[in-house]
Symmetry: C2
Subunit: 135 residues, 2 copies
DNA sequence: CGGTATCCTCGAGGATACTG
DNA sequence: CAGTATCCTCGAGGATACCG
């Protein structure tokens, strides 16, 4: 076994250790669950760019329902990624922005999004070639 | 605007450009969708450690149903992340392993998983403190 | 061993209407 | 403007049984 596979194994065993030996009921899975929704990563991406108001987010993501925008933002706020600030204007305006925790988490998430941005054609290609084989 | 925010804005505008101007129907979202399932990232994590057979994965992830294991593996294979090899033993054995594309994608994904591993307590804390406020 | 096939549940997510 | 409240749909995911 070379040094590379040793270091990889080490990392993963530490991850498995954090799951209490078995992978069911793992805290990492709990965290990932809330980032795995249809809208979470997209909203985080936009908020990483700049703070945005509710209506601005709505316009930027035209196909999100008002209900899911509210709910996803609330979940992100609950997990500590997003801060919600109400300004007593008339009518009231509400601004959403990333917290420090959110910014910290978005760093690796951005890496994944950038991979997706750079490699989605390869994925598409694999997908169609697989579909042709199975037909 | 300092140089940092300039570089950030640049990256994000390139992402938005890859979505054809609007964020609906975005290829990045399409890629992310398949990584966002309940089991995908966990299986990728295990396969990044070493190739594994169907039954081994089942034992490692005790709470996955046979149906979802089959289906998630097929989806990952379809997107080009996972290779499936059948060995003509009796009874037949099937080994799953990461492709080059899968390994490439798992690099940033590992970053996110490691963040989750290192910060799940902070998330938990945020969650309970939020729940106490709302009650 | 490594799957399909079937049936079922439940919750994510959508549509629409209403409100402080 | 920024939400709730309601109702509804649909598909992810589970349980069980069968199969090459």
């Amino acid at each position: 076994m070379d040094t590379q596979s040793v270091s990889m194994r080490t990392k993963l065993e530490s991850y498995r250790a954090s799951c209490g030996g078995n992978l069911a009921n793992c805290p990492v899975r709990e965290v990932m669950a809330n980032l795995s929704g249809k809208w979470a990563s997209l909203l985080l991406l936009l908020l990483a760019e700049q703070p945005l108001r509710f209506g601005e987010l709505r316009r930027l993501v035209p196909d999100i329902s008002q209900r899911m925008l509210t709910q996803t933002l609330r979940d992100l706020q609950r997990d500590g990624y997003v801060r919600r600030e109400v300004f007593p204007t008339t009518p009231p305006s509400v601004e959403y922005s990333l917290t420090d925790l959110g910014r910290s988490m978005f760093e690796p998430l951005r890496g994944l999004l950038q991979w997706a941005e750079g490699n989605h054609t390869a994925v598409r290609t694999a997908r169609t070639s697989y579909d042709e084989l199975v037909r």
